[in-house]
């Protein structure tokens, strides 16, 4: 079954116009497309990779994927960008570690006549051929709004665990969430605990928070936060009374949701973002009509909504293992 058409926002004009996105049938020739990821250390980016790989196969183009090994490795991603150009790529797809950090490279790439497509990670000002993302704060907001609806008039005391301070995305998610709950006077934000988004670190933070804020009854944070929270909450035997929310999706979150361990998580359809990125690259290379800014329409996935959503656009199949390059037939 084809994945398209999919409803997305076409933001090229500046305002969000809801449209059906339909990709090309096939690429006219096997282009060499270079893909840069911040890392592949969680199933979120694996999902994006899945989209990229599948679409590259479907459109029959060559694809090579590099991952920088983490958000702390901007210099490495810059070098990988150079290596891509040196390696004779026709187009470059980037999940930017830092927009500001890569703006220069984007210009260089475009100047060198290589289409530069940015996906997943927000790029507001930097020059790109085309880009696809939802602002992280919108997703944060999504979760916030959902919390408000779900609570109704109940009291809620929240501690957020946005992720590593200085990552940019952690702050963005957090701001969105805060904006959403700002209005509600039944929701109180107790504290924001930044910290490395490894499960171990998050676990420590949560446990201390459980002590510091006995009254806390909502834990909001990254996917690893949610995972850690499940364990921590179980340990103090407060399952059920503390709600756990994740600001983004991964395999663990889906399983947890199905087990009923967490309340829900937001999704921006990573697989879709991967697929569209490839299509954008090919369109740019072939001079086909191209939306220069596409936004997926984020959704909140919770118990009730889980079966209404096309999971093949959210996560890679559990048994799929990433491949780093695709050879055109």
């Amino acid at each position: 079954a084809d994945w398209f058409p999919v409803k997305v926002y076409d933001a090229s004009s500046g305002s969000n116009v809801e449209v059906d996105y339909v990709p090309l049938e096939k690429a006219s020739k096997p282009w060499n497309i270079c893909v840069l990821f911040p890392h592949m250390k969680d199933s979120f980016w694996v999902a994006v990779a899945y989209g990229i790989v599948e679409e590259a196969k479907r459109q029959n183009v060559n694809m090579t994927l590099y991952e920088a090994g983490g958000y702390e490795n901007l210099p490495r991603q810059l070098s990988q960008f150079d290596d891509c150009l040196a390696g004779g790529a026709d187009a470059i797809i980037v999940g930017a570690i830092s927009e500001a950090g890569l703006a220069k490279k984007f210009e260089e790439g475009i100047a060198a006549g290589k289409p530069v497509i940015s996906t997943v990670n927000p790029v507001s000002e930097a020059k790109t051929t085309a880009k696809m993302f939802v602002e992280f704060d919108t997703m944060g907001e999504q979760t916030g709004n959902y919390l408000r609806e779900a609570l109704g008039s109940e009291e809620a005391k929240v501690v957020t665990f946005p992720g590593p301070a200085g990552s940019g995305w952690a702050e963005a998610f957090n701001d969105g969430f805060k904006r959403a709950i700002a209005g509600a006077d039944n929701i109180e934000l107790l504290d924001e605990k930044f910290g490395d988004s490894g499960v171990a670190v998050q676990l420590a933070l949560i446990q201390d928070a459980l002590q510091a804020y006995p009254e806390m009854n909502v834990i909001w944070g990254t996917a690893p936060t949610a995972e850690a929270a499940i364990a921590a909450v179980a340990e103090v035997g407060r399952e059920g009374e503390i709600m756990i929310m994740s600001s983004y999706e991964n395999q663990a979150m889906l399983d947890a949701l199905n087990r009923g361990d967490i309340m829900g998580f937001a999704t921006q359809y990573p697989v879709l973002e991967g697929r569209v990125a490839i299509d954008m690259a090919v369109r740019a290379l072939e001079g086909q009509p191209l939306m220069t800014f596409v936004k997926p329409i984020p959704d909140m996935i919770a118990k009730d909504s889980v079966d209404k959503i096309d999971m093949s656009l959210v996560l890679a199949p559990a048994d799929w293992t990433p491949v780093y390059s695709v050879q055109a037939q």
Partner: protein, 332 residues
């Protein structure tokens, strides 16, 4: 005389020694050609320049590390110091320079000074802790690692600093002089100065003696503490220069810029032949090490090797390279 061996064997010994001396450069060249067999583009001028540019940054950081490694220390704070420098200098530049580029010159100058100031500050902290408080370098710099991290994240509130004036990037990154990219030139300059300091000044000599045998240095009346302090300051200042160059390259202040630079810089220096036991090594070692690491990952990237495989290969190659260097050390 026993130790003045007969000419024949003397020359034989020398012959062997030099061959082993050359083992790492040879390995480097062999490696690159090996790659080029699989992926011809590796040897394209474009890519070679690309390697040179990438290596020039690493070489600077490796050199910074070397200065303190010579004294039997090392600087774990290098990475986060780089981040702090990047953020603060970027903040100053963006803050000073008006939208229409008025006061640009002052902005850049102040920005650069800001960065250097952070470098000096970190260096003073480390140096003071190590030389006066006698805190082990590992702990001292682990401390400043955290402090710099705090500065970087708090100053920028965790977000990258946008719109660093283009002029700055043009100054330290994009331009070329006589066809040579600026980063290479700047790196060359920094390394040249360092080389001179290490080999032709009392300070440099003192560093080698300090690393060789601290107590002997004291007995010989060398003001160890002052020079030790100076060494850490020099290290951080060189790192700050590197950080400024990186900031020019990214065109933004990055609270995460430092990342793995600390370990990478140490690795580069040691692979090149700087001894962690102190008193041994030179600028050339750093250049060699930096080239080696850069060429390796560049080659693997162009050969489309999976990221995780790359990690494993890198690990093995690091160990192998050090082993070869050990051989050299044992022979000579």
């Amino acid at each position: 005389m026993a130790d003045v061996a007969r000419p024949t064997e003397m020359s034989r010994l020398i012959g062997r020694a030099t061959l082993i001396q050359a083992i790492l450069p040879v390995a480097l060249v062999v490696m690159v050609f090996g790659f080029s067999l699989v992926e011809p583009r590796v040897l394209s001028t474009g890519n070679l320049v690309n390697i040179a540019i990438q290596a020039s940054y690493l070489a600077i950081f490796a050199t910074a590390q070397m200065v303190v490694i010579l004294t039997r220390g090392f600087d774990l704070s290098l990475g986060t110091a780089v981040s702090a420098v990047s953020v603060t200098s970027a903040l100053v530049m963006t803050g000073m320079a008006g939208p229409a580029g008025e006061g640009l010159a002052q902005a850049l100058i102040l920005g650069i000074l800001m960065g250097l100031a952070i470098g000096v500050g970190t260096g003073l902290f480390n140096g003071f802790a190590v030389a006066w408080l006698r805190v082990n370098p590992f702990v001292a710099t682990l401390g400043s690692l955290n402090i710099c991290l705090g500065i970087a994240t708090m100053a920028s509130d965790g977000r990258p600093v946008f719109n660093v004036p283009d002029a700055f990037s043009r100054l330290v990154y994009s331009g070329t002089v006589a066809g040579i990219p600026v980063p290479i030139l700047l790196a060359g300059l920094v390394l040249l100065v360092t080389w001179f300091i290490l080999n032709y000044t009392v300070f440099g000599r003192a560093l080698y003696i300090l690393g060789g045998n601290p107590r002997a240095a004291t007995v010989a009346g060398i003001p160890s503490r002052r020079y030790l302090l100076l060494a850490y300051v020099m290290c951080s200042v060189i790192a700050a220069l590197g950080a400024l160059m990186l900031t020019g390259r990214t065109g933004s202040g990055e609270p995460n810029l430092g990342g793995n630079l600390t370990l990478e810089s140490i690795a580069a220096a040691v692979i090149g032949g700087v001894s962690l036991r102190g008193g041994l090594g030179g600028v050339h070692s750093c250049i060699l090490g930096a080239l080696f690491i850069t060429a390796l990952s560049n080659g693997m990237n162009l050969m489309r090797i999976d990221g995780y495989i790359q990690m494993i290969v890198l690990g093995c190659v690091v160990i192998l390279a050090i082993f070869l260097d050990r051989l050299r050390a044992m022979r000579s």
